[in-house]
């Protein structure tokens, strides 16, 4: 497991033309790991193409400040967003 709860991470901004589950609006954004999900999970990026989706991967619930995700965000400063991101989409954030 590469990342721990509380760790600062950044979502890769790479383009991925095929099926993947990283929403565009978090790509390139900085977040904090909220939790590392227990277990390992099949890879949708391969399983979507007649493959069994192994080797399985780690998934992390990552939180993002809404004010960092959306210019002009209309809400409270402390509002945040959480989403599940696969390990291979995350990098350590300096």
């Amino acid at each position: 497991m590469r990342f721990a709860a509380g760790q600062a991470v950044r979502v890769s901004a790479r383009s991925h033309p095929g099926h993947h589950r990283t929403p565009g609006y978090v790509k390139g954004k900085r977040g904090i790991v909220e939790r590392a999900h227990v277990g390992e999970f099949t890879n949708p990026e391969t399983r979507a193409y007649d493959d069994d989706g192994t080797p399985e991967l780690r998934l992390y619930l990552v939180r993002f400040d809404q004010t960092e995700l959306w210019p002009g965000y209309a809400g409270a400063e402390e509002d945040y967003l959480l989403t599940d991101v696969f390990e291979h989409w995350l990098e350590e954030d300096a």
């Binding site: 589950r21 990283t22 929403p23 609006y25 999900h37 227990v38 277990g39 999970f41 949708p44 998934l59 619930l61 939180r63 809404q66 995700l69 959306w70 965000y73 209309a74 809400g75 409270a76 402390e78 509002d79 945040y80 967003l81 959480l82 989403t83 599940d84 991101v85 696969f86």
Partner: protein, 207 residues
């Protein structure tokens, strides 16, 4: 649909709405696949029976129990899938179910921006608006605006946490127990827990 009601969906045989081309096409697809031995009528029947058996009352039971039993609540927040099994509820096929607790200071809202991921086993099929493009777009970028549309105004000092369900986890909101409900038993409390309060677009009903 009155969610939680038991409708008798007897369909022997399954009939398509003659007016909708897509209905005929789906029926034809089902017929073809059954003929090819790819799936069976029984498989289809079983799937339909399961889906129509699902309603928010299962989710409501989880919430009501959590409201009256602190130890259960902690187990629910730790692992909602196991907590559901504890109450003999079907948590569904998702390997992980996460319960998100609303408090005086924190409110959660759930969305699936990429498709329609939703804890169907515990809440029944999702409403159309949950699967709609405007909800999928604005629940993440303008969640307070969305809540306002649903009649919920959060204070500036309430933290709003939006969860975008993108993977195999399914998320369920545990709304706050309403004031003035001390006299209610667990069944009475469960009546207050609406589907929308477990998505996060509404507060639970008043006693």
């Amino acid at each position: 649909m009155s969610h939680g009601d038991d409708h008798d969906h007897s369909h022997e045989p399954i009939t398509a709405d003659a007016e909708a081309p897509v209905a005929a096409r789906v029926q034809a697809l089902a017929d073809l696949l059954v003929e090819k031995g790819v799936v069976s009528r029984e498989d289809i029947r079983r799937g339909i029976d399961w889906l129509v058996s699902r309603s928010p009352s299962d989710g409501a039971r989880l919430v009501a129990r959590a409201w009256v039993d602190d130890a259960f609540k902690e187990r629910l927040l730790e692992d909602a899938r196991s907590a559901a099994l504890e109450l003999d509820l079907d948590p569904g096929p998702a390997p992980v179910v996460v319960a998100l607790e609303n408090t005086a200071d924190v409110h959660h809202l759930v969305v699936c921006t990429l498709c329609s991921c939703y804890p169907r086993a515990l809440l029944g099929p999702p409403p159309d608006w949950y699967k709609s493009l405007p909800y999928r777009s604005r629940a993440v970028s303008d969640p307070r605006g969305v809540l306002r549309e649903f009649g919920v105004e959060l204070g500036e000092d309430t933290e709003l946490r939006v969860v975008d369900s993108t993977a195999d986890m399914r998320y369920l909101v545990v709304p706050r127990r309403p004031d003035g409900t001390e006299h209610l038993d667990e069944d009475g409390l469960a009546q207050l827990v609406t589907r929308d309060s477990m998505i996060g677009v509404a507060q639970p009903g008043a006693a």
